[in-house]
Symmetry: C2
Subunit: 235 residues, 2 copies
């Protein structure tokens, strides 16, 4: 069944009108007709089925037939803060894969050794939305605007805070560190890793240093490894 | 330190001559000079350091200075058999990421619902080799030629055999199924999943059905999830 992302749909609504772009896609591209069934996700846990009442190519009207809330609600909250890679495609696929596997919030952090100092959040959000639809996620991950690492470190966060870095020093394995069903914030550095100063600042802000295994991982692979591990340990 | 992949290097050799392509890369591109230090991996567990004895742009001669065998030897053997995706780039990044995280052998299986019936192994092998160098792996994963699923099912394999499919039915979680430090063969189907007949045939060949969690995963994501889980459970 075809699926549409309808973030402004409110639970309890009997009807919903697709915006112009989605209407065009629905009627002109997918060529769906009156009474055809579609699925809707609101990005906040709501999954709906609907039928086409008026197949208007600019203002398609849908009648909501069924609604379920908190669809596949996650049992933990995962926020990964990762430095955007020099080749933005690498972060793009991290966003796609993390959305498929399960993530709640992503922050793009600008670090001292970041070769990329900015990232276009709109474009990246479109990639997340496509993955949300493809993998039928009723919850749409939040993507925050790029932020300088010190600013992120100073933000309050209730839960377990981790930093994955490649400098020597005592590190814990997530296996033994994770308290299940919790809130987690994980920092992943740029290609050149965090600087010792950045690591010190993170430790002062109660981030615990973790290892993601013995392999030398690229930035986006390390971020995905953390995402895999935390989802897996909460399964 | 710059690293070269030298599959024909034999432990105990005192000198090694880079082939024409690597020599050109070493001298013309990297502009390395006499006495410069480089690293070599033979793909079979050998990691070496060497110095440039003769910086010849076509026949660079290296003197081996140190050698270590079984470098980061893996404590298990992981063979993933995955259907090549319609968009080959998706399998390409699976190969890159699986190499970074840890994998020993990959087979490309052609299934009844495969939209792609072939794959150029040479090109895919280059991607694996690049990831081997980037992530400093002394062991080069083996990539087998594409094979029809029934042929693969009939091949002998000593170890645990698993199939990940989306059809209903009892499935086990790898968490509880994996015997550590073992040999594992995992089947991952094409975009349209395995057919019920293919699943029956796999079960008859002692493949155990597994779940990779509740998320709806793309083919390449499912393959990587299996790779993550088995490496993680053997850590």
């Amino acid at each position: 069944m075809h699926l549409f992302y309808t973030p402004d749909l409110v639970a309890g609504q009997s009807h919903y009108q697709l915006n112009e772009e989605e209407s065009k896609h629905c009627i002109r591209v997918l060529r769906l007709e009156k009474d055809a069934q579609v699925q809707l996700i609101d990005g906040r846990g709501g999954l709906y089925t609907a039928t086409i009442v008026d197949p208007h190519p600019k203002r398609t009207l849908l009648g909501i037939t069924t609604s379920s809330q908190e669809y596949q609600k996650r049992n933990h909250y995962l926020h990964i803060a990762v430095a955007p890679t020099k080749n933005i495609e690498r972060i793009e696929w991290f966003l796609e894969k993390a959305t498929e596997i399960g993530i709640d919030e992503i922050s793009l952090i600008i670090c001292q050794r970041s070769e990329r100092k900015e990232a276009k959040v709109d474009r990246l959000n479109k990639i997340i939305t496509a993955a949300v639809k493809q993998s039928l996620k009723a919850y749409h991950p939040i993507l925050n605007e790029a932020i300088a690492l010190p600013k992120l470190l100073s933000k309050p966060f209730t839960g377990q805070k981790f930093i994955a870095h490649c400098e020597p020093g005592d590190k814990i394995d997530l296996k033994s560190a994770i308290e299940p069903n919790g809130n987690y914030l994980v920092l992943i550095g740029p290609e050149g890793d965090f600087t010792p100063h950045e690591i010190d600042e993170a430790l002062k802000s109660d981030f615990k240093p973790i290892t993601l295994g013995d392999s030398r991982l690229r930035t986006e692979t390390a971020a995905l490894e953390a995402c895999f591990e935390i989802n897996f340990l909460n399964r």
